[in-house]
Amino acid sequence: MSSVAFAPISPRRRRVDRLARGTVAALTLLALIPLGLIVYYLLKQGLGAISLSFFTTDPSGSFLGDPGGIKSAIVGTVVMVALASVVAVPVGVGVAIWLVELGRETKLAHTVRYFIDVMTGVPSIVFGLFVYITLVLAGVGGSSFAGWKGSVALGLLMLPIVTRSAEVVLLLVPNQLREAAYALGAPRWKTIVRIVLPTALPGIVTGVLLAVARAAGETAPLLFTAAVVNATTVNLSDRMNSLPALIFQNVGQAQDRLVTIAWGAALTLVMMILVLTLLARLIQRRSRLS
């Protein structure tokens, strides 16, 4: 081949090249080890805890006897995340629509974008602190911890994720579609509702699912908004249990049976989040945009 015409690469350069490429590949492998270890330990420690009664009984709260199951935590997580989504998704998508369709490059739109960015960077525990100050301390709707206050904290967390992902997808909707609708005499709202949103829907759903997955795994904002209890409740003005808070509490107990419950709850939580994440990726891949 043509390499005949050139001086061959010196052995030293060849060695450096091989060494560097080997290092990069080794570091990549290293990055995957923690995931393997976590999955291994979750299965090893968690599967033992799981049985039918694990999902159908509440934590007993007794330190020495039967520790019970995690029913209240699953119900609490589902209820609180559902309520958070009901508020955060319409608001988040609404702000994204405003940014892309109406605000565009105005000064106000840039300011809103900046504040959404700020929200993305705020640590989740600070959101919890905020809700604690404004709702728990101030005694809004009863001066105590409540499920709906936990939902507010989770909703604040979800909002920027939903908005950012929806904004990205809405920007991908081809302008020709909008122009075609306007040319046919459709008013703006009809263009947005009937043309832009349906086109962007799969991408928006992906963002929503990722936001839900993120919220379901959050512990810090729930500790002092919804607190930790044993009994199952769907009453949002009561204290509400959640999987992450239950795990956190049980780790601190230094009692083997409670720790086993924590591993079982962790396995359950990771499975729930994994399903959401993979579903989101699947929808993203099916989407025509991007």
């Binding site: 640590p123 525990i125 600070v126 795994g217 795990i247 720790v259 994440t277």
Partner: protein
């Protein structure tokens, strides 16, 4: 003529105009969505003000400089010095960056430049799945697996390399290093994703030019890819730093929660986020203690704000640089 049959708009002004009633939904939509967006701004502003107001009792109790620069955090004696907390936050995050960023950049390089095409998708997915593991599960794993398994290795390292500053001495189970390691794993997905994005924007002309001049693959990466992607990688690292600073539950479980500044990276510490999560129960009945925790939250908020601001500046500059650099290449291609 044909044109004559078209009615000039001036003669029938309402023919192409919607009646005010028909335009109402558009107006409602516009004002509703604008109000929503303004609401977000108002919310964040209100948020900041409330944190300021609610942390005020601590600054009546002691001065701002006392809070920020004194080293004793002893709530039982009403001493609130945030130095151990701020130091712990910065030390654990720094360790996370030192470990996490090279690995993240390596994964990004491997996926974009070196890996066979078939394994790129699966590796990307696996790295992203690290982000799906909740913080508390990392904490659980760190507490029951990482701490006991790492301790002998840490002790050996501390004894062997005791001449390095901040390494020698006794090793405690939970410590800065374990917290930093967990944080490194947690920031890996975002740092890797951003590095990957930036690296994939390196124009193939640059890479091909390097290869055509006889560079090996690694020389091509070192001379064409890394210099081009440097700004974006730095931005990704800063975003990771922002995450690490604010991470709470995983760190709370593995850093030891001792309000001291340890003498080595293998000693216990505390972070701003961990102190809030950990002492909230006991602080509920003590307004000064509660205000001190809220002030810790305020410091945390300002810290993440600053770090994210710098990160954004980096990323924006990197993007702008790319646009400038891409223009002549695109011109040549045309």
């Amino acid at each position: 003529m044909e044109a004559g049959t078209i009615t000039p708009a001036g003669e029938r002004p309402n023919a192409l105009r919607r009646s005010p009633a028909a335009r109402l939904p558009d107006r409602l939509l516009r004002w509703g969505l604008t109000a929503l967006s303004l609401g977000v701004i108002a919310l964040i502003a209100y948020f900041f003000i409330r944190l300021l107001v609610e942390s005020e009792p601590i600054f009546k109790h002691e001065s701002v400089t006392d809070f920020l620069f004194s080293a004793d955090w002893v709530p039982s004696k009403a001493l609130y010095g945030a130095v151990p907390l701020i130091a712990g936050t910065l030390i654990s995050s720094a360790i996370a960056l030192v470990i996490g960023i090279p690995v993240a950049v390596a994964t990004a390089l491997y996926i974009t430049e070196l890996a066979p095409r078939r394994v790129r998708g699966p590796i990307t997915l696996l790295v992203e799945l690290l982000a799906a593991v909740p913080s508390v599960v990392y904490g659980l794993w760190g507490f029951f697996f990482l701490i006991p398994k790492l301790k002998p290795a840490e002790q050996w390292f501390a004894d062997t390399f005791s001449f390095i500053p901040f390494v020698g001495g006794t090793v405690t189970g939970p410590n800065y290093f374990v917290a930093g390691l967990i944080l490194a794993i947690m920031i890996l997905p975002i740092a890797s994703a951003i590095s990957r994005e930036v690296i994939s924007t390196v124009p193939s002309e640059h890479k091909e030019a390097a290869l055509a001049l006889g560079a090996t693959r690694w020389e091509m990466i070192r001379m064409a890819v890394l210099p081009y992607a440097r700004g974006g990688i730095a931005g990704g690292a800063m975003l990771g730093l922002g995450r690490a600073i604010g991470e709470t539950i995983a760190v709370t479980l593995v850093i030891g929660n001792a309000p001291v500044t340890g003498h080595s990276i293998f000693q216990q510490g505390y972070t701003l986020a961990a102190v809030i999560a950990n002492e909230f129960g006991e602080a509920a009945s003590d307004p000064t203690h509660r205000a001190a925790l809220i002030a810790a939250g305020l410091v945390l908020f300002v810290l993440t704000l600053a770090v994210n601001g710098v990160a954004r500046a980096f990323v924006i500059r990197a993007e702008r640089g790319q646009r400038v650099a891409r223009t002549p290449a695109a011109g040549m291609a045309g």
